[in-house]
Amino acid sequence: MSTPLRREGLDKLTGRERYVDDLDLAGCLWGMTVRSPAARGRIREVRFGDGVDWSEFVVVDFRDIPGPNEIRLIELDQPVLAADRVRHIHEPVVLVAHSSRTMCRRAIEQIEIVVDPEPAVFDFRVEPRAEQVQHDSDNVLSRISINKGDIEAALARADHVVEGVYETGAQEHVYLETQGMAAWLDGDVVVIQGSMQCPFYVLNALMHALGRDASGVRVVQSSTGGGFGGKEDFPSNLAIHTALLALKAGRAVKMIYDRAEDMAATTKRHPSRVRHRTGVMSDGRLVAQDIEVLLDAGAYATLSSVVLSRGIIHAGGPYACDNVRICVRAVLTNSVPFGAFRGFGAPQTQFALERHMDVIAQRLGLDPVEIRRRNLICDGQSTATGQVINDGTDRVALLDLAVAESKFVEKKAAHVSFHAGSAYCRRGLGLATFMHGGGFTGSGEDTLKAKLHVGGCRDGSIEVLSAITEIGQGTKTIFASIVAERLGVDASVVTIATPDTARVPNSCPTVASRSAMVVGRLLERACDDLRARLGLTPEDRGERVQEAIREWHVLHPGEALLGKAEYERPPNIAWDEKTYRGDAYGAFAWGTYVAEVEVDLRTCACRVLSFHAVQEVGRVLNRTLATGQIQGGVVQAIGWALMEDCVWEQGAMKNTQFTNYIIPTTLDVPPISVTFLETPYAFGGGGAKGLGELPMDGPAPAILNAVADAVGIEPVSIPLTPEQLLELLSHDDAT
């Protein structure tokens, strides 16, 4: 397949792309949010200050919500606007709108939310006291377990049992474009246009809270400047807020968060604590994995239960182990709710596992490469859920390729001589082997049954109608390529419809690394359906297809020509939601990443010197885009591993500026070498497996393993900031 340029690339490069903040809406008002000052309590009063002429403002509170005061997602626990209770600082309580943004900013400072505080809980690792319990008897929002084999017997007969506890911190998405929505009325229809990943999530949430059916609401995605999961669930909240203001004002309203508000009030990656107790034989073979995972869900359930689900399935990693027990829980705290973020639970659990593998190797005196080589799943062996892997990928060869490409052995030797000549720099190498399942977990795809249409237009051009959103990953380019390849036409005759719930079918959300793999496959089948409707055979390609489309329209004036497809489960896939046994994903992508770091012992700063990312992702559909996805994910994970430290006070993030929430700059990022192995996946679009989230999983453990190698300590939590490392080194070394 050719590698065409990114379709929206030039507009983004030249600044012509128009985001929601750029939309010209005549006479629109600006909406802003008044938020809870308290982490938990009862709202006693909302005071409006005297210094403001409130008649100039549109003011909305919970009483203005036409439907139930609930944000429809998995649970219905989160209110649209707090009515009598708040569960976290920054929880929205009142909305105001005005034609002047500055007037709005002044006004919201004159509204005081008076809260009678109640005992809040902030540390998810500590059992709540009775007065802190806010859900069931223990604040546990969700729990799952996996059992394979006989864990206790296996631990009893293991040569060694190695234990460890690992922790990861929250992470802010830092999409370039902050959250933003516009709403207006078109006749009786509420129209929403804004930055989002999942138009139908937004549609469903609006229908619920506004008490309207689908004919009364329309959702259109605007050009979206990045999402990373941060625009999976949260846009529903903001869309409802904007719609409420527009309904009350009878005018168009925009709500655009500034960076500080976006960082303070929107979701982040779930913090985690993972315990490992591993039975291992002296030769390094794993015989028992006993794993306990705890996630901080924050104040509302959002997507925590499904984050937990992906987390548990990846917790055992790409290793063949006959006896596995994994227990996972997500607990409520009075922090800002945590939500979807690239990787979705898998980076947390695989960070713990891959650090732990190095700890085991260290205890047993084994080479970190060798212990992985001895345990990687071979075709015919099974994962923790009992999913038998048979995809033709040689994971040991992948590991060996990464070791060779990164010159692992040669660099180790070079480090010895480097240390002899350096007063305060220490270098180290680390690796991680990992996997990432593509598409929804378990029976998700089967239950939701995504749909997609391919339209044949009168002029012979082809239009893809899907709800999949372009959020920087290159979906428009990929989809055009898939159509071009399937129908033999030039990609330039393929257009991608704007995701607009009034026009496109529900292809389900743009999440879970599913766009190319799952929806791309629907696109191929819809192309086949289109061709069949035209009475053509698969041998008919290119101009013959376009000619047939034009002829069809001559014979069917005024009608729409649509090729359609709906999700069908690939054969031989079975999943049992009750026991968590079976085929958790249609396909896994596999990776081995190698990091080389340098630690400056004066400042305790860790710098990644080189990075090698080797992965098997099915067929690569566009090498430039795929390489960019991997490199971007590695950079995001370098930030998570070493820098991005959410500073909390009463469950609210304090460092909500780019001067104090530190993400990597280009100078903090090494050259990132990307290598693909390709084993086409028969049920993925163009043979692709999921790719977008994979690179979030491997870098953090590889980097920490490299730091451990460099300075001879065992770091167990991220972010490993210089301050953290200084503390570890001071404890480790009394001199």
Binding site: L601, T603, R607, K654, I662, P722, L726
Partner: protein
């Protein structure tokens, strides 16, 4: 908008110091939309004062004008040869866009304890020229600051020039420890020079102001032997007073300052060398 210094000073006097002088605006404009209270203040735009733009080398000093930007110094090869710690400091302020607008005088006037430009200028014994309706006065940069964001400069005075003496410098070093390798606010900053006037050691982000470390300077002038970072602990304790803040901790600041000092000085001072563990 004033086009001469005289006009600017009379405006300042007329407004009794209520006007805020603005040059590059790289500090004043941060988070501007959200700082709406400050929209109502009066700003005195200095950008028309061409007479204060250029920097120049006189026989015995480098004179930096009130509107001289960081980038002006970065581009001057003479500065790189004679006073490389000015260039090093300028290079670490924000990104190139900020460096090309931000001014050295503004860096002084903002009075941040983390100011990178002030750090190097103070280690070079810079003298600040303050002009007001009552005339011109000169203040040594290391005597300008009185406390956090407190200065000897009155609100009706403008910084018109900074004079840095040209001396033979046997050693000069600028070290900025930030939270990343670019675009970072300093967690610990150190500028060290040695000339016939003696040692100068200046620290930033370690006290309420950028501060000369006189106890450390005395140790160096007296060639007090030091065999590891811990040897500086007492002097650091008397010179600076670091705090925990959103960027780092007091413990980190003290400990890293000692290590950086030790390793920078061990390169040039034979009486400072590792005895046993060097970190």
């Amino acid at each position: 908008m004033p086009t001469t210094l005289g006009e600017a000073l009379s405006v300042l006097e007329e407004l009794k110091g209520d006007a805020v002088p603005i040059a590059g605006g790289t500090d004043l404009m941060v988070s501007w939309p959200e700082r709406f209270i400050e929209h109502e203040r009066t700003y005195l735009d200095l950008s028309g004062l061409d007479e204060l733009r250029a920097h120049r080398w006189t026989e015995d000093a480098l004179e930096i004008g009130a509107l001289t930007t960081f980038w002006d110094i970065v581009r001057d090869p003479q500065a790189a040869r004679e006073m490389p710690i000015l260039v090093d400091a300028a290079r670490t302020v924000g990104a190139v866009q900020i460096q090309s607008r931000g001014t050295w005088a503004g860096n002084i006037a903002n009075a941040s304890p983390a100011a990178d430009g002030v750090l190097s200028m103070m280690a070079l014994d810079a003298v600040v020229e303050l002009a007001g309706a009552e005339g011109v006065e000169e203040v040594h940069l290391d005597e300008l600051y009185l406390g956090y964001k407190q200065m000897r400069k009155r609100a009706d005075q403008l910084i018109t020039r900074v004079r840095i003496p040209r001396r033979t410098l046997e050693f000069q070093s600028f070290v900025k420890v930030g939270s990343r390798r670019a675009q970072a606010i300093t967690k610990i900053g150190l500028a060290i020079t040695r000339s016939d006037a003696g040692w100068r050691v200046v620290a930033s982000s370690m006290a309420p102001t950028v501060k000369r470390c006189c106890a450390i300077e005395r140790m160096l002038d007296d060639r007090v032997p030091v065999d590891g970072p811990g040897g500086f602990a007492a002097a650091i304790g008397s010179d600076v007073s670091p705090i925990d803040d959103i960027r780092t901790t007091a413990v980190y600041r003290e400990s890293v300052m000692a290590r950086v000092l030790f390793h920078e000085l061990a390169r040039v001072c034979p009486w400072i060398c590792a005895g046993g563990d060097s970190v």
